[in-house]
Amino acid sequence: MVLFLAAMALPVALDGYGLHILIIAYYYALLASSWCLLAGYAGQFSFAHAALAAVGAYTSALLVLNTDISPVFSIPIGSVAAAGVGFCIGFLCLRLQGPYLALFTIAFSEIFRIVLNAEYRYTGGNFGLNVPPLFSQESRILYYYTILGILILSLAIMHKIVKSRLGLFFRAVREDEEAAATLGVNVIKYKILAFVITSFFAGLAGGFYAHYVRILTPNIIQLPQMGLIIAMVVIGGIESLAGAVAGALILQLAAEYLRDYEELRWVFFGLLLVITLRFSQNGLIYPIYKRLTKKSEKDHAESD
């Protein structure tokens, strides 16, 4: 709650650049939390998440450029397109697990990137595609509240999913597909559903991003992008949506804060990722948060 109020009030205290940083951080938070739902909860370690964001981004951008539709409608259409592609990936990957799934999704992303590059007549290729803005006014604040709204709404929906029957089945499928099936869980359906739902949110993030930065290049699919998303989720805590969001915000802001260190900060983040993985399977931020809240509960109990 406190955080929410702070997020609402922040624009007052920040200049345009500060807002920009936060907008991008929220964009990553949406990508990270939806990947967390897919990988951390449903156990599908897909590397295609950035590519799915690109599906949303390019679909929406090309729709606006080639028809007269407003971004307000094209962004949701882009998200649905991403969900559709997610459906196909989920369906095709039903039999693939572990490293095989990782390789398949990496190959899918690369092919998509190559196609975007090669078909430059339509996509602008590496020179980039100029995308019309979401709002006609040059106002960062508008974008800020829009992405904040999208993020909060999406998180609310994902939180609801995690707490529901659907989330329970996702986790059962993650733990043991065969055992889940013998207990009546339609594994195929829930695996595909996990891809569809999370791809939708990736597409949504991508669509917003396209109409905010207004220039799209196929580089948004590159593996380092995926690496950043993974690092955020892993450092945040792969089994918690809140952890993933915290990971995204903290990493993005830290990257900004440590700007002067240039490459060194990425070396540091890489090291942090590897060490987190090695020593704490629940991430870095989530356990700290848990400990703090436990402690404050205790404090409360003692003061009572």
Partner: protein, 300 residues
Amino acid sequence: MTEYLLLQALNGLIIGLIYALMALGLTLIFSVLKIVNFAHGELYMLGAYFSYYLAKLFGFPPVLAVLSSMIIVFFIGVVIEVLFLRPVYTGAVERKDEYAILITFGLSIFLQNLALFVFGPWTRRSPSFMSGTTSVYSLSISNDRLFVSALAVVFMIATLVIIGRTFMGKGLRAVSQDREAAAIAGINPFKMNLLAFGAGSALAAAGGALIGPIFLIFPTMGAMPVIKSFVIIVLGGMGSIKGCIIASLILGEAESLGSVLFPDLTRGLAYKNAIGLLFLVVVLLVKPTGLFGEKHVRMK
């Protein structure tokens, strides 16, 4: 046109050999550890840099530089195995597959950025092994390329001999087939892990060191070749050495010729890299055991 095609076919062969070297390392690692090493491209990159610096700064003769760089990367591989992969086999991590994917992927990010920080973003080129060109009929090809191909073949044969003929190789094969059974037979599987990961890393480094004088060296140079090696190991049936070598040559040729035969040249070049990926996707969907592999290998 035929000459051009021939030249392309020859280039395809040379590239195929480099891919084969790198993919052989990946295969060795996969067959023993049952892990896909997503940091393989970075070991390739390190191999190239070490070889470059040894030759440039310390004046090593090029071939010696390549060998020394392989040794250094062998030990880097050993350290990586001990620090990060060992837990998979001692039961310290619960979701082995996912842990292995993430940790090697994380290492790749770390090493790439470390290289960017230490070596800088500039591109470099290693000193040439042998200058000049050789002409056969009307085809002319640089001596460097010929030399590199020859060395690649030597390294490959050496690897095959070690795996096929030596006591050490026997241990590797035993562990790759059945860890527990090998352990009962008195082979230390942890030692074999070390050896496989070290040797696999050294093979990646060899690929990078050999490519140094032909292509450019830069921190993200491993990104593309590593994907090629993924294609190769999938195509060759994960863990099959024979499959891996055949698949490398197929891939090298398919790319070199495919791009020429594509009707529209600029797009042909752009799609060149997609050919192998398409192979990968189709093979995984239709016959996940690869063209030459027998069974689906997974970590237990």
